[in-house]
């Protein structure tokens, strides 16, 4: 704990104009506000992290059980539990400042275009916030979240409204639960998005053989973990060929090799999600392993992977 590390220059990347020591970003909803992980390692070694999805009002989220398991992955239906933007700014960010000294990524969700804009405008003013990641893809809330991420016109409307009231880079987080992911990305780019991140979770479910009922109280949830990696990689590849703005690749990354694959598909940076939950040291291990794995494949620095 508290170790000071000299960042390896080979790992440096740039995300929407902001320099990062490395491309590894714990994904929203799998890292809280970082405190729990800071008990195990100095989280300042991360590129940055995306904090727990924030809405204008506090939310308890869905009833439990919220978690199910599947082969090589998990399904969650948390439903955006968060204390609301006011308390995030008043309580969480000041505490975070004590343990994390880099720009952080603010993840925002909402239930109307106006709500997205309002929450983003408030977080945009916080000096600690480096990027806004706008989640238009949560599969676990009704009447919001994913509905904005499955209709290009609505996705563009959210993007325009957020861009109009913010100054920091705005990254739209896309849902994989669509037929034309490239079209979604293009709609966001045309509306002024500075970046795209994908994929959020894939909709799925499990049934308990004993009770013959769905495991999750919400019936359906979002699948994440290594089982979704090939799907995520394919979508990142498609989006990187459809837009010019930077893309953050995520979905099932658990090791340095996965990071390199995502970056070879065109990602400027990566987010690591479910892996943090099963191995709280996952991101540190990935960052430590990257140079060695790069050597094995003759990669001098990560920047060269960007075509």
């Amino acid at each position: 704990m508290g170790e000071v590390r000299t960042a390896d220059p080979r790992l440096r990347v740039n995300l929407c104009g902001v320099d990062m020591d490395n491309p590894v970003i714990p994904a929203s909803g799998t890292f809280g506000y970082g405190y729990e992980f800071a008990e195990l390692y100095d989280i300042n070694i991360l590129g940055t992290f995306s904090f727990k999805g924030t809405t204008r009002e506090p939310r308890f989220g869905n009833p439990t059980p919220r978690i199910a398991e599947c082969p090589a992955g998990m399904i969650n239906a948390v439903g955006l539990q968060n204390p609301g933007v006011e308390r995030v700014i008043g309580e969480e960010l000041p505490k975070l400042k004590e343990i994390f000294h880099k720009p952080v990524m603010a993840n925002v969700s909402g239930f109307s275009v106006a709500e997205y804009a309002e929450t983003c405008a408030l977080l945009d003013r916080e000096p600690q916030v480096g990027w806004l990641e706008v989640n238009i893809s949560c599969p676990n809330v009704h009447g919001g979240g994913m509905s904005f991420g499955t209709d290009p016109a609505q996705a563009a409307a959210v993007t325009r409204a957020v861009k109009a009231v913010t100054t920091k880079p705005v990254i739209l987080k896309l849902s994989p639960n669509v037929t034309d992911i490239a079209g979604m990305a293009r709609a966001c780019e045309e509306a002024g998005a500075d970046g795209i991140s994908l994929i959020n979770t894939l909709q799925g479910m499990r049934i308990d053989l004993r009770t013959r009922k769905p495991v999750l109280a919400n019936v359906m949830g979002g699948v994440s973990g290594p089982c979704v990696f090939p799907v995520a990689l394919r979508m990142v590849w498609q989006v990187c060929r459809a837009v010019r703005i930077p893309v953050i690749g995520m979905g099932g990354i658990t090791r340095a090799e996965d990071v390199l694959e995502m970056m070879m598909a065109g990602a400027a940076a990566v987010e690591v999600g479910a892996a943090n939950l099963t191995d709280p040291l996952a991101c540190r291990k990935i960052i430590e392993e990257l140079p060695r794995v790069m050597d094995r494949y003759g990669i001098k620095n990560l920047a060269e992977l960007k075509q």
Binding site: T30, E36, F60, T64, R66, E69, M74, P226, T278, P280
Partner: protein, 253 residues
């Protein structure tokens, strides 16, 4: 709410299996050895990474002594069945020091332990600590049937007044733990299935605390998978729990 969490620090350690044996129907005991210093208080749990399972498996701590940790678990699903097939000498990646643990300062002179089925194990270490503080400890351990009974002797050996109940009357007293509540106790500690905990909440005459169970994603507070509503706001069962005070819990439905 976070203050309680700040005092605890989890550890990730590799522990070696010394013993893994069946005790009763679907009930196994595993003894582990290594750096178990993270497990600080009775009522805390560990989270085990098992080969072939993506998510870890949270298991309460039955006992900790020096560098040894004892777990008693029920083979309810794939993960715990896999766990029961593990052999002495193998190692397990283990997160220790999870959860808040019981509040021993509230015990009074005559605390009561109420355990139901696989809810019994965490009460043993608690009983041992309470006995070490000179408390007169009663324990009511409830099971479905004779072949489910375990740990009775362990509780007797540390000097607890033990009553065993079985739902079908095949061993001990017939009925549920709430049918055998002793009088004159000062405080209770209960762990078991939710219907039992609700019944205890309704019938117990003293103050007390409950340790709860929920499906967890991470077990250390990051995923919000196991949140519950309480009178003091939302709590994560893995972090601000698993032990919650009587009167604090808002039972669903």
């Amino acid at each position: 709410m976070r203050g309680k969490g700040a005092a605890q620090a989890m550890k990730q350690v590799l522990l070696r299996i010394e013993e893994n044996v069946p005790l009763a129907r679907e009930i196994w005991r595993m003894r582990l050895r290594g750096d178990v210093s993270g497990a600080e208080r009775p009522g805390q749990f560990v989270n085990l990474k098992l080969e072939g399972c993506f998510l870890r498996r949270p298991i309460s701590v039955f006992d900790r002594e020096g560098d040894r940790l004892t777990l008693i678990y029920r083979t309810v699903g794939e993960g715990t069945r896999k766990m029961s097939s593990m052999k002495p000498g193998e190692t397990i990646d283990c997160l220790t020091g999870l959860g808040n643990g019981y509040d021993l300062s509230r015990a009074g002179d005559h605390p009561l332990l109420l355990g139901g089925g696989v809810g019994v194990p965490p009460l043993y270490w608690l009983g041992k600590e309470l006995r070490a503080r000179g408390k007169e400890v009663s324990a009511v351990l409830g099971f479905n049937s004779r072949e489910d009974v375990f740990a009775e002797e362990d509780f007797r050996n540390i000097g607890c007044q033990v009553t065993v109940t079985t739902a079908d009357g095949s061993y001990g007293r017939k009925g549920f733990v709430t049918d055998a509540l002793p009088e004159g106790t000062s405080y209770f500690y209960a762990c078991g299935p939710e219907p039992m905990l609700r019944a205890v909440d309704r019938t117990a005459v003293t103050d007390g605390e409950f340790s709860l169970e929920e499906r967890m994603g991470c077990g250390f507070g990051a995923c919000m998978g196991c949140s519950c509503r309480t009178k003091d706001g939302y709590k994560r069962i893995c972090r601000e729990g698993p032990v919650l005070r009587k009167g604090e819990i808002q039972w669903e439905k």
